[in-house]
């Protein structure tokens, strides 16, 4: 724990030096939900949707801004590059597991991102306050749990993607393919209930993306029954365990291949 605290402090100081970068990243992450909210409102208007559906759309995309920031990860590319350049060698000699560096990095950057996204959230709430009657006091506890589990799933998923750098010199295509699936299935583009009308249901079962974003948002909005909540949390826990096992296997196999040289 002391080691994690030291790493956290170090990473936090690092990001405070680059807080402008984090601000830009956060603004970038906010643009898409805001654009999509307006697109969906236009579509809802064209369809003649009722008021409750419009309210749901507004709530969904406003909450998405915040949840998306909390579950965000960016280590896949950095990890793959570090493997390629032989930069993980120094960490392998240190008295803590290498993943701890990325955990500290992830938590520290999120502290900054959350601070910046609060500004955006205030603006969005000011713009759409009439739609935002969310019973948060009822959903905040289960919501926090599923958002946390979503963040862990996304973190482990990114870690495994980054470790593909042990086998390939360029993970660009893998990363982009992953991002496209995430955009389509997680609930970034549209609420999951709309997505299931056009994308085959089995896709949502065999891939963990909806449990990273769409499911936590729906829990926070109180759109999930108690049975669905227990089922969803169970599936999230299964994904965490499965991804951890995969991570362990891939890490061991990867280290056997690792040459430790640059370039």
């Amino acid at each position: 724990m002391k080691k994690l605290r030291a790493l956290l402090l170090m990473e936090f100081q690092h990001f405070s030096e680059y807080r402008g970068d984090i601000f830009v990243y956060t603004m970038g992450a906010i643009v898409i939900p805001v654009v999509l909210l307006n697109v969906w409102l236009a579509i809802a208007d064209a369809k003649g949707s009722n008021a409750s559906e419009i309210q749901y759309l507004v709530q969904y995309f406003v909450v998405q801004v915040f949840v998306n920031v909390i579950v965000s990860t960016w280590q896949a590319t950095f990890l793959a590059n570090a493997i390629q350049r032989g930069e993980i060698s120094a960490h392998l000699l240190k008295p803590y597991p290498y993943i701890m560096v990325h955990i500290a990095n992830n938590i520290s950057e999120k502290v900054w991102k959350i601070l910046f996204s609060l500004v955006a959230l205030v603006i969005l709430v000011a713009m759409y306050h009439s739609y935002l009657t969310i019973p948060l006091w009822q959903t905040i506890l289960p919501g926090s749990l599923v958002v946390l589990l979503g963040a862990v799933i996304k973190f482990m998923w990114s870690q495994i993607l980054g470790m593909s750098g042990f086998w390939t010199s360029n993970i660009y295509a893998i990363r982009e393919y992953n991002q496209m699936l995430y955009n389509l299935i997680s609930g970034v583009l549209f609420p999951i209930k709309y997505a299931t009308q056009v994308i085959p249901a089995f896709v949502f079962v065999v891939l963990p993306y909806q449990y990273m974003l769409g499911f936590p948002i729906n829990v926070l909005l109180g759109k999930v029954s108690q049975t669905e909540l227990f089922q969803g949390v169970g599936i999230q826990l299964i994904w965490v365990i499965v991804l951890y096992i995969v991570y362990r296997i891939v890490w061991q196999k990867g280290l056997q291949r690792y040459g430790g040289y640059g370039g």
Binding site: E17, A42, E176
Partner: protein, 270 residues
Amino acid sequence: MKEILNNIHHYRKVYGVILKLNYAKMMTYRADFISSSIAHTIWATFTIIQMILLTSKTSHVFGWSRDELLMLAAVYNVIFSFFYMFFSRGFNSISNTIHLGRLDGILTKPINSQFMITCMYVTYTHLIRLIIGIGFLSYLLIKMQISVTPFLIVGFVGIIVLSIVLNYSFWMIVMTLTIWFPKLSNLTDLLYQVNQVTKFPQEMYKGLGIYLLFFLFPLTFIIVSPVKYLLHRMDMSDFVYLFVFAGGLFVASRYFWRFALRYYTSASGS
């Protein structure tokens, strides 16, 4: 006049060398070429799938039919594949070039620094996205029974050039800020996201509020104008807006860059 012609000849020669060097680099890293081509194919497809999914439950949005909205996605692929191929890597490198003081090397060369810094890199892998965009656009033109005449093609290319100039100028103005804030290495990431705004009709942003719309308004012409032209719906005001925004922002970007250079402090200029 002779001087202008000499200048054009000079820049043509320089750009020819840049094209050759980038081609040689691409052939050296063939695995990267394949990997990047796959990634660009994914994003070209994604843009189209996204629009198909968004319009799956409605036939019309603000007077735009489903096929017309899909045409926005096709033209988005055409314009941005071209822009990303010739300019985006140059823009990506600006903050690093300034942060590490490498701009000195460019400023001392007998060539326009804005040209050099934005046109230095060519990413040929975006060709695949261009082909997908043109292919999908052709399919839609046939499906919508729009007759393609040489006049239509020439006009379309002219409007696309204006759209690219508009987007280039917007990116240039934003990236020039890195002269003062060289640590903002990821400004282009934000610009990639902001470009997403362009692929939807202007009417969809009416709820954004006047202040936000003020910044986004010029960008909404980048894709919508060429599509309106193909659909024979582009009126004089659309053309004037596009022309004024493209020309005005281009001139502004030139002045802003030259003004910002006065504050460039060379090596690790933070």
